[in-house]
Symmetry: C2
């Protein structure tokens, strides 16, 4: 797939991360093995370890700490996926059954906890406390973002600044620290660390806004989930927030009535209103702006195959259909 | 209450732990504050921080690291309580509404995750990696124990050794590391560390076996939950495992039929069979044996008020009704 093609310059190191990830999710208890193995297969793109390794390569060299950190960050990400699938009552993820669907919600909750715990156990094997600190703080931010999003489901008064704050915590944070740790553990200069951290954060935002876009206007055969899932779950996304913001009082009331009405009709009823608005273009423009921000951050670095790959990831963030 | 009376020699330090715990569960986001505050109030006995502080006091002196570690361990414990209440669909805990009852399951899952993440973030502020390592590994073990218990619900073939293994992971482990960290961070000698670790583990087992006992033969007005909850949830506990083990083939079939029958009749239908067996005495004896093991471990230590308090906790483990 297009992501893995971009990862070519760190392909061997990604295999090491993958091996470590699977090794750490082995258990002495036979009965837990199929479950844990299923857990390792949930993430697809391995975006965060790839970001970490490409950053390390661009800033210096990949070392054994990076392999551990790559496995740790993918474990934290997988833990959030497992719990997200419970929250969303999802049946499949990337065309595979979710843990809650194959097993049950109890098992999913505990598997997510296991992944969190194991990620910290692994982070604590690093020589310095720095990795634990960064990862602990990031995990807290991700949970805070997810908590706020959950508590604000169906809240039609959610404004853009709050929405961006939540995205920043729940999605961009892990991309940001993937870059931070990749650079720091490669001994990058402070200006370079700063630049790549900005890159990671902007990239994460671009991915998430593009996800909001794809949920309404993507190609459901390739995105691997049903269109309108966010609407079904009462998640306020950028296109909807924008539609509400630029509506007249009477149209606003109409949109709110649809959002508060039966979940299964929301997408179909909003389609004409969205089509008559500029929400589609607006959302695309916002995603593109984050993408440009990310690309500009890379000006600080000399040309290299790793830099080209990071530029390619920024391109894909918006142009992908998966 | 009787627990807090025992904690008198570390009362001030426990207040410091409590303050730190609440401080760490504050948020800049107004909307999260009531939820996080509710989270701090779920645990009741503060058994694990008390074990840690009393051990530190018995082995030497309490220092600032112990305060941090006490807050960390209580956070991990609270995270498991919050997720347990979702798994058990519990409405109240110690006469207060659970998070899943007051809010909902989504919020509970995320609050538990938040507590896990925050505990590791806090552990990473310690000067050495040791705390993170011990706590990460213990959290992993707790999750492993909980996962096995969940996957074995309703499995009438569960044997005693496996049952004890699961208890050891899911319950005794946090008591064990409370003692371990209390002693190590007080600079205790290796033999003392070893003795107190054995104490913590045996104490945790005594508490859990006593819980199994109280679930069937406790006083429901004082234990703060409905009798027979374990049976309702299909959890195999020691009295039931023993009943099955010492039954004739025909009685075994009868017990299994009850366990696999409607949940609401299990307690009432098993009562006469339990009464005709020695399961009550057997379970009590096992709890008492763990209690004695714990008490014997304290022989290694000179008399002190902290040692007396630890002896008192071992007494309470079996004699309490809460």
């Amino acid at each position: 797939n297009r992501f893995h093609t971009l990862y070519a310059s760190v392909a061997n190191e990604l295999v090491e991360v993958e091996t470590r990830f699977r090794l750490e999710l082995d258990s002495q208890h036979e009965m837990l093995r199929p479950l844990l193995l299923h857990g390792t297969q949930l993430g697809g793109k391995r975006l965060r370890p790839a970001l970490l390794l490409l950053t390390a390569r661009m800033c210096g060299a990949v070392n054994p700490d990076h392999i551990v950190l790559g496995a740790v960050i993918e474990m934290v990400h997988t833990a959030t996926l497992v719990h997200d699938d419970v929250l969303d009552d999802a049946e499949s993820r990337r065309h595979s059954p979710t843990i809650n669907h194959r097993y049950n919600n109890h098992t999913s909750i505990l598997l997510g906890d296991y992944l969190f715990a194991q990620s910290f156990r692994l982070a604590a094997t690093l020589s310095s406390n720095r990795g634990c600190q960064v990862i602990g703080e990031a995990a807290r931010k991700v949970c805070e973002g997810e908590l706020r999003q959950t508590m604000l489901r169906g809240d039609v008064t959610l404004d853009e600044p709050t929405y961006f704050e939540i995205l920043n915590d729940k999605t961009a944070e892990l991309c940001r620290i993937a870059c931070l740790l990749g650079a720091e553990y490669a001994g990058a200069r402070p200006q370079h660390v700063e630049a790549i951290v900005q890159f990671g954060q902007a990239l994460g935002m671009a991915f998430q806004v593009a996800d909001d876009y794809l949920d309404l206007w993507g190609d459901d055969a390739t995105i691997g989930k049903t269109l309108g899932t966010d609407l079904l779950q009462g998640k306020m996304t950028l296109p909807i927030i924008h539609l509400l913001n630029q509506s007249s009082t009477s149209q606003r009331a109409k949109v709110i009535a649809i959002l508060e009405g039966p979940a299964e009709f929301r997408l179909q009823r909003l389609r004409p209103l969205l089509a008559a608005s500029n929400s589609k273009q607006y959302t695309y423009d916002v995603a593109t702006r984050f993408q440009s921000d990310a690309i500009n951050c890379l000006d600080a670095f000399a040309s290299s195959s790793a830099k080209d790959a990071l530029l390619g990831l920024a391109e894909l963030a918006v142009s992908r259909q998966i």
